[in-house]
Symmetry: none
Subunit: 354 residues, 2 copies
DNA sequence: CGCCATCCTGAATCACATT
DNA sequence: CAATGTGATTCAGGATGGC
C-alpha cells in the first residue's frame, strides 16, 4: 500500500485506505482560477495559462462541496497526531481554510510562500501576485502534532523559522518536461516540500498526497526516506510521477539525521542551500588542501568523525582552531574544481534577493 | 457626515448612511483569536494578549454571521467602482475571505503584510507568526476600481509593487498610549494605511472604517487629504481616535501629487500632430531598428506598401502582430537621431496644456 | 572558456472608450 | 450590447547562441 500511486478519484481512494494510517497529508488541490480570455505579455507573446478541465468548477458551492469531501476523507485517514498541509492562492484558499476549520481541524499556522521570481502583472492592473498561501493544521485542537523545531531553526540562521518562506518557483532542470513541453502546469518546487517534510515528519513516516500531479511530494518523500502514497486521477500525470519518483536516489540515512540539539545548529543559512538543492545532503566537503573531509546532513549541519554542527564549528574542530569561517574554509568539487561554499552563498543570495 | 466618528454598532451606522457614497472601505475587524490560557514568555513574564470582549464569539457560525452582516452593509454604502480592504490573521481571514466572495465582491489581490519585527513563538511549537493578510476586493467582477499603478511602482524603486509588503509593526512614538499603557491592543501602523490609500484612493475621496479603533485610518486619511468616516462602538477608543486624528496636519497639496498613470492622460490623436505641423505629410517613419518604413499622409494615416491606416494598425500589420502601440513603435529622424512619436505627443500635450 | 546579448517562460481571475 | 479602435503594459531566472 505504501510508496505507490493509486489511480483514481482521491475521495474514493482515501476512503479505501485504513483510518488513522497517515502521518501527513500534503494537498495541492485545483485552485478554481476562473480565468477570462487570453493574456499577452507586452512583447505580444501569449501567456500559457492553466485552462485544464480539472480546474473548472460550476460555482463556489460546487468547489466547496469538492473541498469538503476531500478534506473529510483526508481527516479520516490521518492519525490523531497527524497533520494537514494545503496550498492555494486567493482564488481558493479562503474557501479551503474555512472548510478546514469547519471540519474540526485546528489551524497551526498559515505560511506564505514568497516567490523569488513570480510572473508580473502585465497590464498594470493589480499588484504582482507574488505569493501563495499554505495552511498547516492539526486534526484537533488537542492533538500532539509533530514539529521539528530545532531542524527549522537550524535551517534559518539559528533563528526561529518564520511564517513567510522565500523560495524560487519551479523552473529550469527541475521542471519535468515531455518532448520539451512542461509535463504539468503547476509543478511545485522540491524546496517547498523539503521544508514541509523536514518540519513535520520523521524518517519512515507516511505522507499522503491526494493530488499527486507531477509527483513532487513523492519525489521529495522518497529522497528523504519517508513513505509516500500518491493519488492521481489523470493517467498521464501518474505515469510522469511514477517515472520521476522511481529515478530518485534516497539520501544516505546518516545525512538525514536532523540534529535535535541546539549545539549542532549552524549559525548560518547554509541549510538554505541544502534545501534549495544547491548542495545535496551526503555531499563531502573538503578544505582547499583536501586534508579534511566532512559530510553534509539534511538540516545543513556537517559531520566529521564524532564532530558535528555548523560549517564553522566543524571547520574549527578539524583544524583544532578556536574558530573558523566555514564559508571560505570548506569547498566542494564541481567538474573537478574546488569551489568555496562562499561562492554558493553568493549564488543563493542572487537567487533569493528581494 | 464626513470627517467625523460615528459612535455605535457599525452595521446600524452604515445602514444609516446613503448608499453608494463611499470610495473605499478599510476594515480591521475582530480576529476571533480563541486564545486559551495565559501565554508566558520564557522569562515568566506575561504576554499582553487580546482578550477583550469584542474579540469573543461563541462559534464560527456566530463569527460568520457577524462578518456577513458588516460586509453586506459595507457593500451597500460602496460606490459601484469602490473597493474593500480587510485585514486579518489565520484565525479569521479564511472565513472573511469566503464571505467576501459569497457576497459578490471580486477579490483583486490578497496582500501579505510581512512584519519586520514580529513577536516570536515563545514555546517553539509553531512557526513565528510573522505576517497578516489583507484582502483587496472590488464590488463586482466588472467594476472599474481605482488602482494608482504608477504611484505604487514609483514607491517600489520603479518595479511593480508585489503582493508582499515588508513593513514594521506599530511601536515607539507612533503607538498611542494612555498613562503609558497602549490605548488599543491592535493598532495598525500608519505605513500600512498610507500604502493602501495611495494605491486605491484619490485626494478628496471618501474612506470609511467600520472598526476605527485607535483611528489609524482616519489619521492617515486626514494626512493625505482624503475624507474619512470612522465608526466605533467603544467610547474610550472613539475618544482616543478623535484626539489623535484632530492632531494630524494634512500634507501639502503639492506633495500629494502622485505619479499619474498614462491611462489618465488626455488622449491625443496622431492627426492632431500633423494638423499642428509638428509632423509634415510625406515624413517617413521607421521602427527603432529601421526594419520598416511608413509614410505619413495628410489625414494622419500611415502607408506601408499596401497597408494603410492608423499608426497602430500599420505598426501591427508591419510586424504581423495582433496589436501595436504606434506611439512607441514608430520613430522619426531628427538631426540624425530617432525620436519616438511618443516624445512628439508629449510636446503636443505641453503646448496645448493651457 | 568566458562573457554578453537574446530569448523563453511562470497557478493570471490583466483595458477602456466609442460606435 | 456587441464590435471596433486606440493604446497601455513586464520581472527574474535560466537556457541558448554568438563572438
Amino acid at each position: 500500500m505504501l510508496n505507490r500511486i493509486i489511480m483514481g478519484d482521491c475521495v474514493a481512494a482515501m476512503d479505501a485506505l485504513p483510518e488513522k494510517s497517515v502521518d501527513l497529508v500534503f494537498a495541492d488541490p485545483p485552485y478554481n482560477l476562473q480565468l477570462g480570455g487570453d493574456l499577452r505579455r507586452p512583447d505580444g507573446s501569449m501567456v500559457d495559462a492553466v485552462t485544464d478541465d480539472w480546474d473548472r468548477f460550476d460555482s463556489f458551492a460546487d468547489y466547496d462541496r469538492f473541498t469538503r469531501d476531500w478534506l473529510r476523507a483526508a481527516r479520516r485517514v490521518l492519525k490523531d497526531d497527524g497533520a494537514l498541509w494545503v496550498i492555494g492562492s486567493y482564488h481558493n484558499i479562503f474557501r479551503v481554510g474555512a472548510a478546514v476549520q469547519d471540519l474540526g481541524y485546528w489551524i497551526l499556522n498559515d505560511i506564505v510562500w514568497r516567490k523569488a521570481n513570480p510572473m508580473p502583472n502585465f497590464k498594470g492592473t493589480r499588484f504582482t501576485n507574488a505569493h501563495e498561501t499554505l495552511i498547516w493544521a492539526a486534526k484537533t485542537p488537542e492533538a500532539r502534532y509533530r514539529f521539528n523545531y530545532r531542524a527549522m531553526k537550524a535551517l534559518n540562521e539559528d533563528l526561529q523559522m518564520r511564517s513567510d518562506w522565500v523560495l524560487p518557483i519551479c523552473s529550469g532542470a527541475e521542471r519535468v518536461k515531455l518532448d520539451g513541453v512542461k509535463a504539468h502546469p503547476t509543478q511545485k518546487p522540491e524546496s517547498l516540500l523539503y521544508r514541509v517534510l523536514l518540519a513535520c515528519t520523521e524518517v519512515d513516516g507516511v505522507v499522503l498526497d491526494p493530488f499527486l500531479g507531477s509527483g513532487t511530494t513523492g519525489a521529495v518523500a522518497r529522497r528523504m526516506r519517508r513513505n509516500w502514497i500518491g493519488i492521481e486521477r489523470d493517467a498521464g500525470y501518474a505515469a510522469v510521477a511514477a517515472e520521476r519518483i522511481a529515478a530518485v536516489e534516497p539520501m544516505d540515512t546518516a545525512d538525514l539525521e536532523a540534529t535535535m540539539s541546539a549545539r549542532a545548529a549552524p549559525k548560518v543559512p547554509f541549510g538554505a542551500l541544502v534545501e534549495m538543492g544547491m548542495v545535496t545532503p551526503g555531499t563531502v566537503l573538503t578544505d582547499l588542501k583536501r586534508r579534511y573531509r566532512a559530510r553534509v546532513r539534511a538540516d545543513g549541519s556537517l559531520q566529521l568523525g564524532r564532530d558535528s554542527g555548523s560549517i564553522h564549528r566543524v571547520g574549527a574542530a578539524a583544524q583544532g582552531a578556536p574558530s573558523c569561517n566555514g564559508w571560505t574554509f570548506w569547498h566542494l568539487e564541481q567538474r573537478g574544481k574546488l569551489v568555496p561554499l562562499d561562492a554558493m552563498r553568493q549564488q543563493y543570495r542572487e537567487r533569493t534577493a528581494e
